[in-house]
Symmetry: C2
């Protein structure tokens, strides 16, 4: 047995560093906080002492002394689909956690599907915010609004849906083309060589994430599963009534329909139609986002797989990244990477 021997546990303080370097507290402070007016030679001496003692500022004490507080704005859709509801709830929880870290979150609900409204909301945001997380739309006006915020020194992260060409500091969300490819691989493998058609239902093709998903899906399906042919993409507008009708039509029209990939919301409609037609077991259905409904369909066997992004992780990650950015701390990339979760009936959380 190798024991990491029990060492003295006290943290080195600024004072320890000062003593070790043979300089005063003020000088150490100047060095560690990169202030002016210290000779290079002295800087080196202090830095050597820092390294030797393994000094690391107690960030809690530092924040306390600075009296820093952070104000963040989360701009979320007014829409009421399950995923966005869950995201809103997770943002609230994150706010709760952040409050104990001297951070404060205001949530603004806007119609993010209207570029002008969204851009307007961003433009009117109080300059008191140090950071903004926004479920973005990839549109020139929105892009400009984001760039404008960044130019004013406000850190912006895009959440769930990106605006890649803007100057946001980070995108917190999944790789949507990869998510689509994942869905296609599951579809192809679950259908294992059977011939037939596969339908793709998107919310709207003007949504970047839906477009990217169906792009990834088609990419893999056409290159690897020639036994399956994809039907033209249908826009369900994330609305269950509409998807119910559309799915019913699909089922009526295509006797050889083997699979449905839904890269948006409106899942209740799809489930209804599949079950009404009695083809729930036979048709492979894959969709996005784990909600109370998709969970139920999964357990029941109507739904075969869910591609999910963890809303809680996204909310926390956005907050952490904004905070780190504001206080110049580093972030650890692989803790912040949002994974593409696959859920089957068996590995539901």
């Amino acid at each position: 047995m190798t024991a990491g021997a029990i060492q003295p546990v006290m943290r080195a303080t600024l004072e320890d560093v000062a003593r070790a370097a043979g300089v005063s507290l003020a000088t150490v402070d100047r060095v560690v906080n990169r202030r002016e007016g210290v000779r290079a030679k002295t800087v080196a001496r202090v830095e050597a002492a820092v390294a030797k003692l393994g000094y690391r500022a107690d960030i809690a004490a530092a924040r306390l002394a600075r009296g820093q507080t952070f104000r963040l704005a989360f701009v979320l859709p007014t829409g009421s689909n399950s995923f966005m509801t869950s995201l809103t709830e997770q943002v609230a929880r994150t706010a709760d956690w952040l409050a104990s870290q001297r951070g404060f979150i205001d949530v603004h609900h806007v119609d993010v599907f209207d570029p002008d409204v969204l851009a307007g909301a961003l433009e009117n945001l109080s300059p008191a915010y140090q950071g903004v997380a926004v479920v973005a739309l990839d549109h020139p006006r929105v892009r400009a609004a984001i760039d404008d915020l960044v130019a004013r020194g406000i850190a912006v992260v895009t959440l769930v849906s990106d605006a890649p060409s803007s100057s946001r500091v980070h995108y917190v969300g999944i790789d949507n083309p990869a998510a689509g490819r994942t869905a296609a691989t599951l579809m192809g493998r679950f259908l294992a060589g059977r011939e037939g058609t596969v339908a793709v239902i998107a919310g709207s093709l003007s949504l970047r994430d839906h477009t990217e998903r169906q792009f990834g899906f088609h990419q893999i399906l056409s290159s690897e599963y020639s036994n399956l042919s994809a039907l033209p993409v249908i826009e369900g507008r994330d609305d269950s009534d509409r998807t119910r009708k559309l799915t019913a039509e699909l089922l009526a029209r295509h006797a050889d329909l083997r699979g449905i990939y839904c890269c948006g919301a409106g899942n209740r409609g799809i489930a209804d139609a599949l079950e009404a037609a009695g083809r729930a077991r036979e048709v492979v259905w894959i969709t996005h986002e784990l909600t109370e409904y998709t969970r139920r369909f999964l357990v029941r066997g109507t739904l075969d797989a869910v591609i999910n992004q963890d809303a809680g992780h996204e909310a926390r990650s956005a907050a952490r990244i904004l905070l780190a950015h504001c206080s110049g701390e580093p972030i650890s990339p692989d803790q912040e990477r949002i994974r593409i979760d696959i859920f089957l009936r068996d590995n539901l959380p």
Copy 2:
């Protein structure tokens, strides 16, 4: 657009509460820290003020004032398989993070597969630790050692591998039977009705997690996929040389071998044997833990799916839970729940 109006952002302090309740700072302190000697009526007044102002102690300031530091021990296997290496690394990173939260982690490496050695290591642990995370073994001596630590007031969490009947405060790891069921569903669906046999390779059946996984696997395979019959479990001892030989034998002996489920390590051996036999594409192979090797096999198409537990998440979660337990703070269960990740070639992180 609904704007969460910009409110005053200052946190309420103890002094604010004192003023609002019309009592002194000392009394508020007595109430919030549950000290003796305050009339019930006064307690109620203070608590009302706390609620009204939404007062929450600044935990950073509180920790600073208390001068609290935490000492945690992580007891990890000496073994060198990729997953454990990665776990060790993630524990080191967690230690780094924790150091800025006034927490200190010592790592002890022991042969966790020998119950006596493991129990001995736990028994000899310095009483200076406030918390211990251990990759456990479900064995009476180990159980007793854990119970003993808990009896001495040391919080214990089991990590990756549980000792369910002990008095550990938490198990940080995946639901292994569910992981096995997940593997079986993937196997059954990828093979979609084809007839044949499926091999199961475990590290050792005396390891609780491996046993549980193969249990879950068999459960689903036998109840839902009658077209597939499982061969007797093979013990590969997590050793690539051995698994290579065993896999080669399997392939030679069973022309109708359709799938391999490996619920332990030794994946390089399996990959070698599959590729050497030229049956890498045809045989569905599912294994556990995403490592540099399994990632490569996945990309190459030799491996079909990986069931993974996130070592980084586990390390951080164990530390957070121990810390919360030591300082009497609550934990948020769904942030600490370790998920059963499924990785295909397409959703690799």
